[in-house]
């Protein structure tokens, strides 16, 4: 009797292990984050607390920006509707903890890709949606026309807990200039303090300077100095350990950039199904089985292009037309003299 029970238990264990194994491999294929997202019916996306052009909410609570569009693209691909996104505004300090603790599934918040962030703290960067660099803003009448005019004792306002703080030190140290760093937790307070004259210069990513300048009391009295003191590749981040989800986010972004390269946009996407170019046909889901690799249907990329648009449309809508940075600079396609170059979707 006792032996029988023992045998039955071991049999049950074997069955349980086998069963667990099969469901585990299915889940691995589908991704835990993907499954949870589809169950909830919305993508949980971490964004900034308000950076025009990147992620900014209007009075009605509608979020717009190139960072926001990455999350919308993922929602279009995974859930079929670009509006099914729940945005969580995060400060620079909170952002990584929110992602690693599972409060959000994508962090798309003008976040610089660095080695230590990628390797050290349980994060994975999936790509670059904006090539930026740190610059300095000064008063027009200050007489500073270059960073080489800076002298000992200059005070610089910036955000707390960003790569900016570290670059600033590297920069001033290499120039041998002593400086006074004044660091605030929120961007709005940095702007207010700089505006009041607390600091001689305001330093952050150049796109950020261009965007925040609008908030100053007299934007025309300020200029951004020409020098760029650092590389700031900004991109979306996901948690480490879910490679399928990582691939979905990466390729949602890549598809937007590739669509621009092949001239596919939200207006002509449907008609492109009959294109002669197989690369274009793959992009709009008329050829190949690209979505199956992530456990998605074949029209995932078509939905991204139709609902969110290609990268060029997103840039124009959010950054160029709002007057933040009309010139695309390095964020132009590699075929047009920029450095946007993504692996082929095939």
């Amino acid at each position: 009797m006792f032996k029988l029970i023992k045998q039955l238990t071991s049999l049950a264990t074997v069955v349980a292990v086998l069963f667990a194994f099969t469901t585990e491999s299915m889940a691995a294929k589908k991704s835990k984050t993907l499954k949870n997202t589809q169950k909830k019916g919305f993508v949980r996306c971490g964004v900034s607390q308000g950076l025009p052009g990147f992620s900014n909410a209007d009075a009605a609570g509608n979020w717009t920006g190139v960072d926001v569009d990455v999350c919308r693209a993922v929602a279009a691909a995974v859930l079929g509707d670009a509006n099914k996104v729940k945005f969580t505004p995060l400060s620079a300090k909170e952002r990584f903890t929110a992602l690693t603790s599972g409060e959000i599934d994508i962090l798309s918040r003008n976040t610089t890709w660095t080695l230590s962030r990628d390797a050290d703290i349980g994060l994975t960067f999936v790509g670059v949606n904006f090539y930026d660099g740190q610059g300095f803003m000064v008063r027009k009448n200050s007489g500073y026309s270059s960073v080489n005019d800076f002298k000992d004792g200059i005070s610089a306002c910036t955000n707390l807990g960003t790569t900016t703080e570290l670059n600033m030190r590297d920069f001033f140290n290499s120039k041998g200039i002593s400086y006074e760093p004044v660091t605030f937790e929120k961007a709005d307070e940095v702007v207010a303090a700089y505006d009041a004259g607390r600091c001689d210069t305001y330093t952050t990513d150049k796109s950020g300077l261009a965007a925040q300048r609008i908030k100053l009391s007299a934007p025309d009295d300020h200029i951004v100095l020409p020098e760029t003191i650092s590389k700031e590749p900004l991109g979306p981040v996901v948690r480490q350990g879910d490679s399928v989800w990582e691939d979905i986010v990466r390729w949602s972004l890549n598809v937007m950039i590739e669509a621009e390269e092949y001239g596919v946009n939200s207006a002509n996407a449907d008609s492109m199904k009959t294109s002669d170019n197989p690369a274009v046909k793959r992009l709009v889901g008329a050829e190949g089985e690209l979505g199956a690799a992530f456990g998605l249907d074949n029209e995932w990329s078509l939905r991204i292009i139709k609902q969110v648009g290609n990268y060029g449309e997103s840039y124009k809508r959010n950054i160029a037309d709002t007057g933040i940075l009309p010139d695309r600079g390095p964020n132009e396609l590699w075929t047009k003299g920029g450095i946007l170059y993504v692996p082929p979707a095939r």
């Binding site: 009448n141 000992d152 004792g153 030190r169 400086y179 303090a193 009041a196 004259g197």
Partner: protein, 383 residues
């Protein structure tokens, strides 16, 4: 035996529950951190911090370690707490006494002050003092000096810095003065107890305290010079001060806001303490011939302090904890430097937040211990 067991079992159960809850939380955190590929450890403290700080009491720059950055933040927090406690105590005592003044104007002004400042959220007050001050203060180049040597500008308050020579001898003279004052006080007390004579101890103490250190200037080779801040132009519109000592506007705004806010609560404690002493005490003291000063010092205050100290301790603790709002206005305190920048740069949220919490707990407990000791010292001693 049974009786004892009944008493012990609930305590053991509570202890067990506490251990289990903490054990579960630790285990849970560990499992989740493992799942997400986050390591736990304090090794980062010795790494180079590579960020600079605006204002530090000790020598620090980005080439120092995170542990030193922590120390910088801790000292800056203690500085704000220390200045804030002194400011709020002085102001609180004055306002508390003013609320009992027979003068209608003084009494009403004090009452208005208390009602106004204690009913506005502290964070708003900090923002007000900081941004209002920033808007109102002149740029360095437009500043008129006060008394020729103080400059209050948008970039901070610039004051002359002391340049000492043979500072140690000066310190020894102060210690010598304090010791001799204690000796004379003891002698004066004995004299009064034995012979009934009273010495003017107060004036003798002040005299000693002034004369001994002054002597060191004449014979001890001590000298004191001042480094006066001078305006220096960096470009067309940016200026700075050379020499002197710069106090950042963030520190001024924070201590002012904390001091003014907490003083209202301390004022109420003081008022409660004084009103808690019955009128009969004062009348009785007067009837045995004590002077009004002696009545306050020997009869009223010793009793009032017993009522004042415990709630005031709470206010000191509140002030210290409230100083963590500094991060909002860029004053580099423990929260801004350590739980802010250092946390961000290392990503070690659990380690850093625990260290920060333990630090605040230790500061609060130290203040508590100190105040409890003082409270015991002034408590009624039954003979």
């Amino acid at each position: 035996m049974n009786f004892k067991l009944n008493k012990i079992i609930p305590q053991l159960a509570t202890l067990l529950a506490v251990i289990l809850v903490f054990g579960f939380l630790t285990y849970n955190a560990q499992v989740n951190m493992d799942n997400r590929g986050i390591e736990f450890g304090f090794g980062f403290l010795t790494q180079e911090s590579s960020f600079d700080v605006q204002f530090s009491l000790i020598d620090y720059d980005g080439s120092h370690s995170y542990a030193r950055a922590y120390l910088v933040g801790l000292l800056n927090t203690l500085l704000v707490a220390f200045i804030g406690i002194i400011l709020s105590t002085v102001l609180g005592v004055i306002v508390g006494i003013a609320r009992l003044s027979p003068n209608y104007l003084i009494e009403r002004t004090a009452a208005w002050y208390v009602e106004f400042f204690r009913n506005i959220p502290l964070l708003l007050q900090i923002f007000f003092w900081y941004f209002a001050a920033l808007r109102a203060l002149p740029l360095p180049q437009d500043t008129e000096p006060m008394f020729g040597v103080f400059f209050l500008t948008i970039k901070g308050l610039f004051v002359p810095r002391f340049v000492w020579e043979n500072l140690d001898i000066f310190f020894y003279s102060i210690i010598a003065a304090i010791i001799s004052i204690i000796v004379i006080r003891n002698y004066a007390r004995k004299l009064q107890e034995n012979e009934g004579k009273q010495l003017p101890v107060f004036y003798i103490s002040i005299g000693l305290f002034l004369i001994l250190p002054l002597l060191t200037f004449l014979v001890g080779g001590v000298s004191l010079n001042f480094s006066i801040p001078e305006l220096e132009q960096m470009s067309n519109t940016s200026f700075k001060y050379k020499g002197g000592l710069g106090i950042p506007p963030e520190l001024i705004a924070l201590t002012l806001a904390l001091g003014l806010y907490t003083a209202t609560f301390i004022a109420e404690c003081v008022r409660a303490g004084i009103q808690g002493i019955s009128k009969g005490q004062k009348e009785a003291a007067a009837s045995i011939g004590l002077t009004p000063n002696q009545i306050l010092k020997l009869v009223i205050m010793p009793q009032a302090l017993r009522i004042i100290i415990p709630p005031t301790t709470n206010q000191y603790l509140n002030l210290t904890k409230n100083s963590s709002l500094a991060a909002a206005i860029a004053y580099p305190d423990l929260v801004l430097i350590f739980a802010g920048t250092a946390l961000m740069q290392t990503g070690r949220a659990i380690e850093i937040v625990s260290i920060t919490m333990l630090t605040y707990l230790s500061i609060s407990l130290s203040i508590s211990v100190l105040m409890n000791w003082y409270n015991k010292k002034i408590a009624i001693k039954e003979k």
